[in-house]
Symmetry: D3
Subunit: 318 residues, 6 copies
């Protein structure tokens, strides 16, 4: 392989010859004057690109499927104002040919470290009912595995494998630091809210070979997914107090802060306010830090659409 | 009893001597210069009124509690610009002394009639999974009893015992009438959505002797209450299809139409739009009809705060 | 003609050689280094495309005009990220060479069928003044002809020749079905509102060879166009009751439901609410059905800008 | 008459004995323990007050009607936190007993002066079609009389007999002063828009003995009332240019500036923007000047609900 | 003094005889049938009440002025639905007769403690320019004295003498705790923003004998007051870096987070976001804690208008 | 030079060979397969264009800097749907080779004329404190020079060298014309507000060789820049009245009319309302007039994004 093969999608320029590994995000067979062609969307850990194979072979027509990792040889061109990869060859990738972190972005914090932070935070919960409820998620190994794998977003913040668990532990820890100034706050509620507020994202995004919305993520939404899971787990705990469950559900349901941002109820308990603010801070700081890195920590960012503003990171010489 | 005793709260005027039955909505013991007095909020099927007993007896101080129905003798006065009942005597009411419909408003449609409409609509569902899911709520007799008893609102529309089941059947039937013009709509989804969209109101309002919000109604909200119940019931049905459950949840979760009105997701399926519109129409018509009756079906209404407008019912002579 | 000539704009791909019929939507003469060229916008029943003729002949420079149907030979290319047709030959089309429905989309419901539905609905009106008013529009043959020809939108719903009359009859019939549940509603008002609410679209859109906004459509708007016509027709009926006219105008003026959506007054009569909801339902269902067809009735739609969401039509296999 | 009799409603204090003239704004016959009583709303040029006659005579029960001017003897008391007049005697007022300006507020500018300003502005119009259209309103003497009598508001600005004509001439003159800076503006359009933009208020408010909304004012609104009148008048002028009418209607229809404020279209012509701004300035200055006068031109106003702020008129000593 | 004299305004009930000390918040001389009377608004550390003296003596008519602390003897009555104190005697209070904390609410944190927190936070600033700028405010003793005295609000949060300095130190400390999770944040900016963001409230509220808005508070606002002071102080420091001043101003100007909440610019630097969130958290927690105390830390609060919701503090028995 | 060299950016078409003068707005050195290339943004008085030099010489790599005016030879092509200039040669322009008005747009009103209008308006101020304050800006020659040079916008209105002073004098004169109808308005406040409201734009935009936002323009904003300057100048005037300064600051701070449009306070003085409206009118008329010129004063404009509408300038033949 030549050095050019390490090139990631974000760095492609017109006329680049590419030989690299990608996840197949979308695949459609279409017709044109000379017969059938295959239209693809390919992705790696830095972005996605449209691709087209004009004279597809049998593999491409029948076996290539969404979610697969493939090795592709092709040429970067342009179509309707956007870059497009014309594919010359494509074949399935062998598991040992590529590193998954080149295909989907991965959390910088090791999985084991996230795992331990979560278990240690769970240990701090004093109320036995709450602790039992939270622990029931981790003791289901298959679920915990998915949780540790899950992303907290598609693009904006913690949009990587492992991002959800990192963000959840961060919010819990931040909430405890905030609470140092306000002694009337119930720490158990804060740890619960920090760890589980985004629980439903386990099923809102698929993260196998690319991070994307699931049907359930769009139709039900991560807040209601989490809420029904918490009800289900609490029902399995003997005589879980109804009034406590109601309050815990409230903290999850209200954590987006306002109805406009898809919470079905607004925060009405002091701890619900704190979880809302801590989630806001940690996700905003996550996104800002990502953008800041792209600009080497100084000067102005490009226009940030989600914030409807430019960001400023200070003058280089200061 | 004199005729005056039939008087309902809405008709009270200053200086009326009242002997009647009320639900105790709130009760507080307070102090003043001459000792303790009891401050109450009393209600009947036409409204509520503040009340005060200046020299409370033992019953009033210790046994009188919220939710109780009591017989009261007193005088209508005024305090800080609002009517207030000065209580001279109060005692618990016997069950056979009063009719519950004088205490809490009742649906005009007989319970049996509502019950049959609901069962007959359920029967129309063709998809066996959906039918089984809906039927599971009715076959739980205790639950069905609560459902038939529940109100669909505190004041605005169908705010009466039985109002929820009446409204639910109405929305289902309306949705079927609407669907006659659009053959691509799935009728089973519409019946499901009509019957169950407001399910959670069973626990959002208490309706014993007065209609009021429960803690759960405020902290969790009827949409999430319904959603978790549907998950719970579906989990109890063998191999209930996951994709179907996702779509049914979507119809319930999105039925307020916009995030601003407390749906955590917006309608994304054709049937979800229809249920949203039919709920809108039936609740608006319910409220408008109630207001129209108060004005004998003609002329201008008083200012309707929730609609931010006056309503016009046509000229008398037309 | 070769099969390729049947190709509609929506299906054009780069490098297609096209020989087909189009409406001229826009035409401008511009200059460039080698002299004058003609810039066009061409349309057919599936969409529109920019076109350019670099060496225009005399016809193209002098006689070609907006609204004309022409036969064009050319090649599909691309300019600034959008498809563009380079025109090699253009000449006026003979009336018998093309079918108008290939140029402008046509309602699937036959004109005669729409005509009869409208007359039959008018017949149902019991109040003689209202009936006379509505009938006065249909007895003006030239106007009725325009009405039956008119579109109800440019792109979104019922955007075809005949779409307005189809939508109008649909809303009237839907309103009558809705009214079955609410007996206090005046059926005559509903039929009136259903049939005439979008009347002004007769002059809001031009539909000769393409559907587009008229100057009046933009500067006055279809609601005020309809309102002044109704005043004009009522003035021509002897002793038309002033109070009735006021209410009928209200139903037309308020049918967009809120000020934000360009109604100068909000619905204040029960029937005005119903017409608003029925118009909402029928136009939304019209648009959703159109989008659903494009996706063969299953899976996710593309992003629908006007609704700010994706639509879901269920899984293929369900 | 004693001095006390000159007292106006705004100055009433508890325990005042009143003998004065009022317009009857509302009248209802109600029942209470001792038989029938009459509940009234009375008004004069400074405000309105609730009134009650406990032992009404025959006149009060049968002949007293809304809109009548009456002579009343009574006592100021209080009911439910608001002042209320207990009426001891009431009889119809003779036309020569009272001055109408004590009953309804009147413009400070003499009618003749307003009339002349309007005619002189009309004379300045150069386009003969526009001039003919505007003049057609003034040459209809009955209409011009109503126009000169009409109010431009109920309470906020120019809320007095004659207020509409004063405000209309003011806006036209202001628009001409503004136009001095922008020579591309069509002066004829500005005079037209200034004089006629609020035309419909002639029928939006009744001003006989009190200023109040008419049914038509609420259900149709002054913008659409004006629009249909202008269509009607233009239709009566031989070959009035259709394109010109369209532009004139646009200026009227868009003069509230945004859809939210009940214009069915937003300003799209330069002159429509100017009329919108001039109407804004003149009505705001009218309201501010009224509030300023009440505070003797210095210090802070009371909270102004419509502006959601306090107003500041400078320090006394400056 | 009798025990009754300790009564605070919040606890007044009708018919109470009061002898106590109050601040005079407003004073007006008015006329009525029997001559002149004086209308007052009196305040203490728990609220305010309207008062009236019907037969004012010379002191009351000439010397009594707003801002004075007075000793009053009177009777609690009611007028137009609100409590009102009828004053029988009033005289100036001697400085040693009353404690200022009974007149205006005082921070629970001792002044010296607040002073030290502020100086110690200032000491932590590493950048010498920023430290010099911040210190310049404290080294101006008169200003520092005012700052330590100032309130951070009229009613909502930290609405007490000393509240501003307490809140400012709290926000700075909270920001440092938050920053522990995000190492790219500039701590000096956070301490600066925490300590000085609400600086302008020193002149936005007067706190002598009652907390109220100043003219400048309303017309200029605390954000711009602070901004111009910071410019003034920086100008007095030799060669204060322009780019640094620009960033510090940005943090102050943007700390309300959105334009709607009166910041003239939105946060564009990471530290500006953090100061905004920390101010939000500390002020919300301050208000919530105050409301929570009034409800003894459990159950539901009254409706909180500013938050448009009820607050829930958990069940008593949990 | 050939005629082609006069071509301005707005008129470039694909394949044009260009030799002309431009300001360098942005410059970045990047790498590609064949080494380094330079990416530029060039501007002239009609717009801006991306440019690229594939084989940059030493000057281009080391000395070329942002803000420089350069002579460029190149070819117009297209990249990703937008025009792009491929640069063949570039060298610094000599001051006498180009006219600055070809590089940056210039006000049509001569500088001396603007200067005189401003001084003459200042002369009309009667209050000596206000006059001294305003004059202090003009007597600082360096500042006055910058003010006369400054732009009032980047693109929308008065977006040219000298535009700020033209707009400022226009608003002052317009305010005086408006004030003719409202005699309670303080003329001195209006002249002050007209002349100085946009003062801060002197530092919000840089206008050397191109108009662009400064860092300070984005982080502090022109309103706060002006506010602090006014405070600074007033502090330098002996015993400038504090109450007057407060009112003048209010007029500047509130001139955007609402918080949403970045005023930290809303207008609370009559004069503040007038300055707000006059600024609105003059900037809207400035923008509309610019758009109107581009369409030769008739027909429809292109879609105007900032106004979210099309503009109509009347039919050609009328």
């Amino acid at each position: 392989m030549t050095a050019g093969n390490d090139k990631k999608i974000r760095d492609f320029v017109i006329d680049d010859s590419i030989t690299s590994f990608f996840a197949v995000r979308k695949r459609e067979i279409r017709e044109y004057t000379r017969g059938k062609y295959v239209s693809l969307e390919l992705g790696d850990c830095t972005g996605r690109i449209a691709a087209v194979m004009w004279e597809p072979d049998q593999f491409c027509l029948s076996d290539l499927s969404e979610g697969m990792v493939v090795k592709v040889r092709g040429l970067v061109g342009e179509y309707r104002g956007r870059k497009q990869l014309t594919v010359h060859q494509v074949r399935p990738a062998q598991d040992d040919e590529y590193a998954i972190e080149d295909i989907v972005p991965q959390s910088a914090e090791p999985r084991e470290h996230r795992r331990e932070r979560i278990l240690s935070l769970t240990d701090k919960i004093e109320n036995q009912d709450i602790k039992r409820l939270v622990a029931s998620f981790w003791s289901d190994e298959e679920f915990f595995d998915q949780f540790l794998n899950a992303a907290a977003g598609k693009l904006w913040h913690h949009a990587c494998v492992g991002g959800l668990s990192q963000h959840s532990a961060d919010v819990a820890e931040l909430a405890l630091r905030v609470a140092k100034g306000y002694d009337f706050l119930n720490r158990d509620y804060l740890v619960f809210g920090g760890l589980l507020h985004d629980l439903g994202k386990v099923r809102q995004y698929s993260v196998q070979t690319a991070i994307d919305f699931t049907d359930e993520g769009r139709l039900v939404g991560h807040i209601s997914i989490a809420d029904s899971w918490i009800c289900e787990r609490a029902a399995a705990i003997e005589s879980f107090p109804a009034g406590l469950l109601m309050q815990l559900r409230h903290i999850i349901l209200s954590h987006h802060g306002t109805l406009e941002f898809a919470s079905p109820v607004v925060p009405q308990m002091p701890e619900a306010f704190v979880i809302y603010y801590c989630d806001e801070i940690d996700s905003k700081m996550g996104a800002i830090s990502r953008i800041r890195d792209r600009h080497d920590g100084s000067g102005w960012s490009d226009y940030v659409k989600l914030l409807q503003r430019y960001l400023y990171f200070g003058d280089r010489e200061q």
